[in-house]
């Protein structure tokens, strides 16, 4: 049976800041200075971009809205390797892996956006990958691998087929683009059709992504300048085009999952807010090779950094080894990290009902609140884990010492066995197949 679970999101009440107001203005001014004569125009261009962006799903339940003070989760990708579900060493990804990754993302309520695509199937074209993504999820697809203008045009045709018409495409665009400087041409094709884009173009045409940047301040300046420059280029082509701020530590030359990456993410979200752009952040890029303690610490800090700072989209879920390896279990475990952080980002509600003075008065000193009506009204608000073990020691030993990984494996198996994706429809499927057959570049 086809399931259409609404996507889990949460309002972001907290606003973690790493830059003071003066520092924020100073970094922004330095970025404008780096852009030289183009700086003033770039700042003006950023103001033209809308402050909210809809990332459409194929159904209403799978729409995502950036810029609405809510946090959403995206997968990582594209990974060239896949860690087999049954364990063992990573191997090159296949189309079956891509299908599984998208179907799993479709089944997980926490995942809002299929990013990448999650895996890059060996020997397949990007067009074929996108067609498979559309067929195996009704959630929004945010591409990161598109570079060619011709492929952008072909993808645009695919997106129109999926949306139903050019008008519907603008209202609920099923695909968007997040990329570096070499995707500016492709981004312009998307932007003209109303598809959201986010690009980091290094100032003076420089390619972003050195890995030897010792100073975080300098990395921020260059990255911010790169976003401003790209925004200016897109807005010059299509004034008012939906443009989001890409906050990706890798594009700023920072080590995956490092404290510097976490700090960069908080600052980037602040800079985006400063110029009024929604944020798509790559927040989960563990360098660990397994879904383990290290993977969790790195992704927990990165996700907390983006979500508590107020980023709209936190992408990167499900990858290991700095984004090179996709793991189904890791996607489930990262979804739990997102769920945890979403609850944190929602903060504490303080009003007459939540302060609960009457309930406190009614309970005896040293008594308990279990029987209170107030408790029954609110107990469902308490966050509940899917992967944590809270049993007693002996029960845990008797269970075979089952941990989060084993629980995640069970969930992966269950979803892949039971979850049905909303079908595309024969006509759309045929259109996509025709566009794919007309050609595209096989990715290296």
């Amino acid at each position: 049976m086809t399931e259409l679970c609404p996507i889990t999101t949460s309002p972001t009440k907290l606003a973690l800041k790493i830059l003071g107001d003066d520092d924020l203005r100073r970094v922004h001014a330095a970025a404008l200075a780096l852009l030289g004569a183009e700086g003033a125009a770039a700042e003006k261009a950023a103001r033209l971009a809308p402050d909210t962006i809809v990332l459409g799903g194929r159904v209403f339940e799978h729409h995502t809205v950036l810029g609405a003070a809510h946090c959403w989760l995206g997968t990582g990708g594209p990974a060239a390797l896949v860690r087999p579900r049954e364990g063992g060493d990573p191997r090159p990804a296949t189309v079956a892996d891509l299908d599984e990754a998208c179907r799993l993302a479709d089944a997980l309520p926490e995942v809002a956006v299929v990013y990448g695509p999650p895996v890059r199937a060996a020997g397949e074209t990007l067009l074929a990958d996108l067609a498979r993504c559309f067929a195996t999820t009704s959630k929004h697809v945010q591409l990161t691998t598109l570079r060619s203008v011709d492929e952008a045009r072909a993808m645009l045709r695919m997106a129109i087929a999926v949306a139903g018409s050019e008008v519907e495409l603008r209202g609920r665009p099923p695909v968007s683009l997040s990329a570096g400087a070499d995707a500016l041409g492709a981004a312009s094709v998307f932007a003209r059709a109303g598809l959201p884009v986010g690009v980091v173009a290094a100032p003076n045409g420089r390619a972003a992504g050195d890995d030897d940047q010792a100073d975080l301040g300098a990395a921020l300046v260059r990255h911010h300048a790169g976003v401003l420059a790209a925004c200016a280029a897109i807005q010059a082509t299509v004034p008012g085009a939906p443009f989001f701020y890409v906050a990706d530590p890798a594009l700023a030359g920072l080590a995956a999952g490092s404290p510097a990456a976490a700090m960069f993410l908080i600052a980037a979200v602040q800079l985006a807010a400063h110029i009024g752009l929604p944020v798509s952040a790559v927040g989960m890029t563990t360098s660990s090779h397994e879904p383990d303690w290290q993977a969790c610490t790195q992704n927990a800090f990165a996700a907390l950094s983006t979500m508590a700072a107020g980023a709209d989209l936190t992408a990167g879920a499900g990858t290991l080894g700095g984004g090179n390896v996709f793991s189904a279990q890791q996607l489930v475990m990262d979804s739990e990290i997102f769920s945890w952080n979403a609850r944190l980002a929602a903060g504490v509600t303080v009003d007459e009902e939540t302060i609960a003075l009457d309930a406190i008065r009614q309970v005896d000193i040293c008594g308990n609140f279990l029987g209170q009506r107030h408790t029954r009204r609110h107990m469902k608000d308490v966050w509940r884990p899917r992967l944590l073990d809270r049993s007693m020691w002996d029960a845990w030993v008797a269970s075979g010492r089952e941990g989060a990984y084993e629980k995640a494996s069970e969930l992966v198996d269950k979803h892949l066995a039971e979850h049905q994706v909303l079908p595309l429809g024969d006509e759309v499927t045929e259109t996509l197949a025709r566009i794919v057959a007309e050609g595209g570049t096989v990715l290296p």
Partner: protein, 488 residues
Amino acid sequence: MTARINPIAPRLKWDVLSPGELERIHEATLEIIEEVGVRFPSDKALTVLEQNGCEVDRATQVARLPSKVVMEAVARAPREYVLAGRDPAADMHIDGRHCYLSNDGSGVFVFDHKTGEKRPSTKNDAATSARFVDALPNISYYWGPVVTSQDVPPATKALHDAEAVFTNTSKHFQTVTTVGEKPARYLVEMAAAIAGGGDKLRERPILSFMQCAVDPLGHDGPNLEANLVAAEHGLACGFMPMPLAAGTGPATLAGTLVVQNAGALSGVVLLQLAFPGAPCFCAGAPSVIDLKTGGYTGGSPEDYLLAAASTQLAHFYGLPMAMGTMATGAKEPDWQAAIDDSLSTFASVMSSADMMNGAGLLNGSKILSYPHMVMETEIYSIVQKVAGGIEVSDETLALDVIKKVGPNGTYLAEKHTRAHMTEIWRPTVWDRTSYDTWLREGKKGALHKATEIADDILENYRPEPLPEDAVWELRAIVDRADKELAGA
């Protein structure tokens, strides 16, 4: 030379509550303390409260504390003080600007990482744990003991714990197992013996006390009396409520904050009424009930919101906060432990908790694991780096260098890079090698590296010894206490 202790001075601030929300919870707390009251099951405590204008019901042992009395008492508490180490290099400056991590405390098992099994803890384990904490700069003081001495008379267990701790670490010791007036007086005597007398101890307090409260809105008699002894001797002390939302607190976080705040604040009021100006602190480990079992969750997002908000409340009164931090419910140093410890530490540091308790225990503060403690100090160092924030200046913006390097260049050979590259955080147990290297080296993960570090400390580290005469004096005091309190 490595610093003896390594506190965090956070530049980042994470306010979970707005000023208006803070005020509202404060007012609700005062209303509850004044109207419903708080249970103080100690005649001594009730007398102090009664003599200072509180309405006391001796039958129920409940005291209602007028708001005016509460706020005047709180105003007498010192805003800053020192928790001294036997080694002055381990002194902690409780000043609202530093966060100090301790180990976790009161565990009852030790996880043997060589066999994978757990066993009940002994006095020798309390001693070893103190030696281990002494070796880790990221753990600034010893709280607890980490695991209690279960092979000694129960009545004097806290004193045996203290003997094991004092002889194996020169860091500050905060006891959490000393209850009742008599054991507390013995313990103060032990600390005075090390410090060189009562006056010297007051000058350089190497000992402080923390006691649990009884939620909601209550205290425990022996705990109250032990803390009154501490305050009498100028030793810092505080009370730690641990309300569980939907169990011993309302199901809503704001309501549980009222219960948490009432427990911590009412303890401070008693101490200030009894000994005005005595150093004291708020403490807390608020959590939510596990809806599946009705028990303690051992980590949930609500815990961290409660921790950050409780710390904001303590600072609202100008009081230090000792916050339950880390203390994962996980059974092993695994993925679950990682998320618990990471987010918990982040919340405590970003809200500037003065003291954080603490590292080393698994399974909801029951089981000691040394590799786990090492891994938690890595988490601490990550949070320390992030909490340090980003310095923005001409030097750090490096515009000249960026312009000079230009497109497609490299920063590696730049003087600016050499000047700043040592500031880059480096991991101790994280692995950043390529997949092939990791495979070739035997897939050594964080736990493997942490185990190597832990084994090295256990085998080789020797703390600064306690002078021999002090060792003998402690032994004599504990012997005397065994005879009087345990009939040994």
